[in-house]
């Protein structure tokens, strides 16, 4: 008996049911007469701006999509040598997404993974290897490497751009697996406003207000937005103290002011963003099971980004940008209060503070020496500061100076080559150089071949450099590499060190570095139509990738204490490889049907583990015996699915003012961690079975200013409380949107 036959049969049945449902939804709603007659959107007689654009799904593909992330300047996504994808703001709205997590989770080839928050895994690389930008500037405040995507509201976004492969040659640290750039809307219309109110399961609510105004010629404008996002949270394991996901109240506000847009030589923009979240939960303190304490957490972030652009000559433009960002968290633990006592009398047991400051100044120049060449050069300076209880000395600062240059060579239609190189010089880890070269060949108008080779890096984190932590319960210590030698010498003088396992001098941490290759083909097909009705447009894309990451920073024992526990510090140790193929297909059928389908195959492994397995040094228990693990039994890096797939169907019925959106995400079987003591994923018990997530929304225009939206996420109600606590089961939603 194959033990996996049961679950996989259930999945197959789910999948068949799912397909039937999807077909029913899309085919079942009859095409309105207005559309059926001439096959073109009915654009007559709508006063003002219709809430759902007429046949907006078709519009998405028809307009050339301009993206800025891959080259730091606007370029048509189709002509870019670097693999880039785009999520339009309209898609985000019609899918009723509230946070960046919801949006990226559905995107082909991306995987949301949870570790101290929701992060994004691109091409099998962990979430700390992807740079997250808002309007081109980096978000700060990673916790254990994860920049929580739930922090980012998508209420006022114009689009999201995703660049795959290393972009450190433009952005420096963290842009190793890719870059996600969330671009907020700019003021464009004379006057418009939008109010949206959404309610979901778990008493989740979101209220968003946006307003913008701009001068007649669009040269001066301002835009503001604000959201209140709150939830009662959920508890999948009621026997455990504390919620699986505690309730919270979250406010995000921001705005943009613009002047000089259009034809003037000088233009400026100021962007501001702020986010505050409060969260309360119950906790048990270690060693004290009798009393439940109350934990209050507050997170606060503020970003300000002024930018000034001046056109010196028609061929030369200079951009001066400043960026400041703060990220603070406070965690208060209070003793339990009895009903007689007032809440204020509860005693503060502990308070943990974390503060991060980031300041950047950058000067960038764009030069067009001839029609075939485009040069971008830039230099900048970053100052970072961190304050935390577990940081040696309480607070530390670092400085970074950088410069990059990029050359774009456009030899007519057939060949396009972009090369760039960036130099980073950091006060702690020294100098690092990141090159990238990417080429696009177009053998015909409907076919594009791309290849990109580049190197990325991730700087050591504050924790890896400056941590000073001793676990009071277990008794082990961890020191950041910058202070390890001094800290261990002090322990030795105090007689706490029993023996050294490594030389403590010359512990110097280098950035984690990568070499990556992306190569792919993109093909457009136009099917023949029948009569006056045009045929479907089909886009096919396949991309091969291979990423080599070396110098992975890991904690390893450096000395043994007299209590038998280890002292750890950070070393550059392992090498990992991720490789695979991404397939993506989009079909734009007449009548407003848009289909996207994707499949990603991923293989990943740790080179050291593979070497150890080949040497016969890795074992597992089989019954009462130890047996050697073979290469084929090694499941690769934890938390990576070998197979991933998405299927999205959207259909607009312009005459009826209806849009339906159905989305299926498949996450294949993946290892979650070691259970049998050999530290690798190899045993069946160490895997999570694959599962499907089905999301669906229907939007209905009510007149020209109102949209009613309903639907749900995870409609198959998949849950796994112990292994996937982030999945709360089926969530239904209803939303009303007013557009003026």
């Amino acid at each position: 008996m194959n033990p996996s036959a049961g679950p996989s049969r259930i999945h197959r049945r789910h999948f068949v049911a799912l397909l039937a449902f999807v077909v029913a939804v899309v085919a079942g709603i009859r095409t309105p007469p207005a559309m059926a007659q001439d096959g073109r959107p009915d654009s007559s007689g709508t006063p003002g701006r219709a809430p759902v654009e007429q046949d907006d799904i078709a519009m998405e593909a028809a307009l050339p999509a301009i993206v800025v992330t891959a080259t730091r300047a606007g370029r048509d996504i189709k002509s870019l040598p670097v693999p880039t994808s785009l999520i339009a703001g309209d898609v985000v709205s019609r899918q009723a997404s509230l946070r960046l997590t919801d949006v990226l989770q559905r995107h082909p080839g991306l995987q949301v993974v949870y570790d101290h928050g929701a992060g994004i895994q691109i091409q099998g690389l962990a979430s700390d290897y992807t740079l997250i930008l808002v309007d081109g500037e980096p978000l700060i405040g990673r916790v254990a490497g994860t920049l929580d995507l739930d922090r980012v509201s998508v209420a006022a976004i114009d689009r999201i751009e995703i660049v795959r492969g290393p972009s450190s040659s433009l952005y420096g640290s963290e842009a190793l697996a890719g870059v996600v750039n969330v671009i907020t809307k700019a003021p464009e219309s004379r006057w418009s406003a939008r109010v949206r109110s959404q309610y979901e399961t778990h008493q989740t609510s979101d209220v968003a207000i946006e307003a913008e105004t701009a001068s007649e010629d669009g040269s001066v404008g301002a835009r503001v937005y604000g959201t209140r996002y709150a939830s009662a949270g959920y508890d999948l394991s009621p026997l455990v103290v504390g919620m699986t996901s505690p309730g919270f109240v979250d406010y995000t506000g921001g705005g943009k002011v613009r002047f000089g847009a259009g034809t003037s030589r000088t233009r400026g923009e100021l962007s501001i963003r702020a986010n505050v979240q409060d969260q309360t939960d119950d906790v048990l303190l270690s060693g004290d099971d009798s009393e439940v304490y109350e934990q209050f957490g507050r997170r606060k972030e503020i970003s300000v980004a002024p930018e000034l652009t001046h056109r010196l000559t028609p061929e030369a433009t200079a951009v001066l940008s400043l960026y400041g960002s703060t990220f603070d968290t406070r965690t208060d633990t209070r003793s339990p209060t009895t009903t007689q006592e007032a809440a204020s009398s509860s005693e503060l047991v502990s308070r943990a503070l974390f503060e991060q400051r980031y300041a950047k100044a950058e000067l960038l120049a764009r030069l067009i020496p001839s029609t075939m060449h485009l040069v971008t050069a830039s230099a900048g300076f970053v100052h970072e500061h961190v304050e935390a209880d577990r940081i040696a000395g309480g607070s530390r600062s670092s400085r970074l100076g950088y410069a990059f240059v990029q050359h774009e060579w456009l030899s007519g239609d057939a060949l396009d080559v972009i090369s760039s190189v960036r130099l980073d010089h950091h006060s702690e880890y020294g100098t690092h150089v990141s090159p990238r070269v990417a080429a696009l060949v177009s053998p015909g108008r409907d076919m594009r071949v791309r290849a990109a080779l580049g190197s990325g890096f991730k700087a050591p984190t504050f924790q890896q450099l400056y941590l000073d932590f001793t676990n009071p319960a277990a008794g082990y210590s961890v020191f950041g590499s910058a202070d390890a030698a001094g800290a261990i010498r002090m322990l030795d003088e105090a007689g706490i060190i029993q023996t050294y396992l490594q030389d403590i001098e010359n512990v110097e941490l280098a950035p984690e570095t990568s070499w990556s290759l992306n190569a792919g083909i993109e093909k457009d097909l136009q099917l023949a139509g029948s009569g006056r009705r045009p045929g479907a447009q089909i886009g096919l894309r396949v991309n091969f990738f291979r990423n080599h990451v070396s110098n992975l920073i890991e904690a390893a024992p450096v000395a043994l204490k007299t209590n038998g526990q280890s002292v750890f510090t950070y070393y550059n140790l392992n090498k990992i490889v991720t490789q695979g193929i991404e397939f993506e297909s989009t079909i734009l059928a007449p009548g407003g049907l848009h289909v996207t389908a994707s499949y990603t195959y991923l293989d990943s492994f740790d080179c050291e583990v593979v070497d150890e397995i080949k040497s016969g040094n890795v074992f597992r228990r089989e019954g009462l015996r130890d047996v050697r693990v073979t290469r084929s039994e090694y499941g690769g890096l934890a938390n990576r699915s070998r197979h991933m797939a998405t299927l999205g169907l959207a259909r607009t019925f312009a005459g009826a003012g209806t849009t339906a959106d159905v989305h299926v995400t498949y996450r294949g079987r993946y290892g979650f961690g070691d259970l049998n003591g050999n530290l690798i994923v190899d045993d069946d018990s160490e895997y999570v079975d694959g599962y499907f997530l089905l999301d669906a929304t229907v939007s209905q225009n009510l007149g020209s200013h109102l949209v009613l939206r309903g639907g749900g996420r995870n409609l198959l109600d998949h849950s796994d409380p112990t292994r996937i606590p982030s999945l709360s089961g089926r969530r239904l939603l209803v939303a009303l949107e007013l557009i003026i």
């Binding site: 932590f469 319960a473 961890v478 396992l501 526990q565 597992r620 050697r628 259970l675 530290l679």
Partner: protein, 225 residues
């Protein structure tokens, strides 16, 4: 907060790909042993393969409560065990050569060096229990002020500690070769650290109970088979 991935300690190479052959050899040796003992022994060739035995649930300072910092505490006492006798030795004999290993939580002492008056020593091999047909001639460490012969700490010696599940797992393929107090040799495989040796222990399993499989060669040679 801190993710710790231990390394594979050392780079001791084990003979590769011979598992099956060795298993066959072991089976032959075992049946020979059974045959020999069944025949009431032959006095001519007096080599006796070391029989493999299992000792279950040896208490190693079981947890009695927690201290003010929440750390689990026991009576802070070692349990002394004789591999030669396959029996727990009374604490009163701790200063004698009657015991070979002493267990307290994840720490294992040998009867030698700073730990006892015997000739004890140990080393940890990366191989399988069956593959060790002979104890190495050299390479034994002795308990000393700078560390124990059987290294302590997760990933350093015989176990890995998983901070996510809070479970101590014996590392598969780690065989402890012990030189006993009298200089004779034994090989040990730690089967479980939890009472009753559950197949999938969790953080509610009762810890600090060793189940070990071992073979002691009483004729004083290094040859187990």
């Amino acid at each position: 907060m801190i993710r710790i991935h231990s390394l594979f300690p050392g780079s001791r190479k084990a003979p590769t790909g011979q598992f099956f052959l060795n298993a066959v050899a072991w089976c032959i040796a075992l049946s020979a042993a059974i045959a020999l003992t069944g025949c009431d022994g032959g006095s001519g060739d007096d080599f006796q393969p070391a029989p493999s035995v299992t000792a279950s649930d040896i208490a190693a300072d079981p947890i009695t409560g927690v201290d003010s910092l929440g750390r689990p505490v026991g009576a802070n006492e070692y349990t002394f065990f004789s591999l030669r006798q396959n029996a727990v030795v009374p604490r009163a004999d701790s200063a004698t050569t009657n015991w070979d290993i002493a267990l307290k939580a994840t720490t294992i002492l040998v009867n030698g060096g700073t730990s006892g008056p015997g000739n004890g020593g140990a080393q940890v091999l990366t191989t399988t229990f069956e593959d060790v047909t002979e104890a190495p001639e050299t390479g034994y460490d002795v308990d000393s002020a700078s560390g124990f012969a059987i290294p302590t700490g997760s990933g350093n010696g015989w176990y890995n500690y998983n901070p996510a599940t809070m479970v101590v797992s014996p590392i598969p393929g780690r065989i402890i070769i012990v030189r006993c107090a009298d200089g004779s040799f034994a090989k040990i495989r730690i089967v479980s650290y939890y009472r009753g040796a559950p197949a999938s222990p969790n953080n509610t399993s009762e810890s600090r109970y060793y189940t070990i499989e071992f073979a002691h060669q009483s004729d004083g040679s290094r040859q187990f088979e």
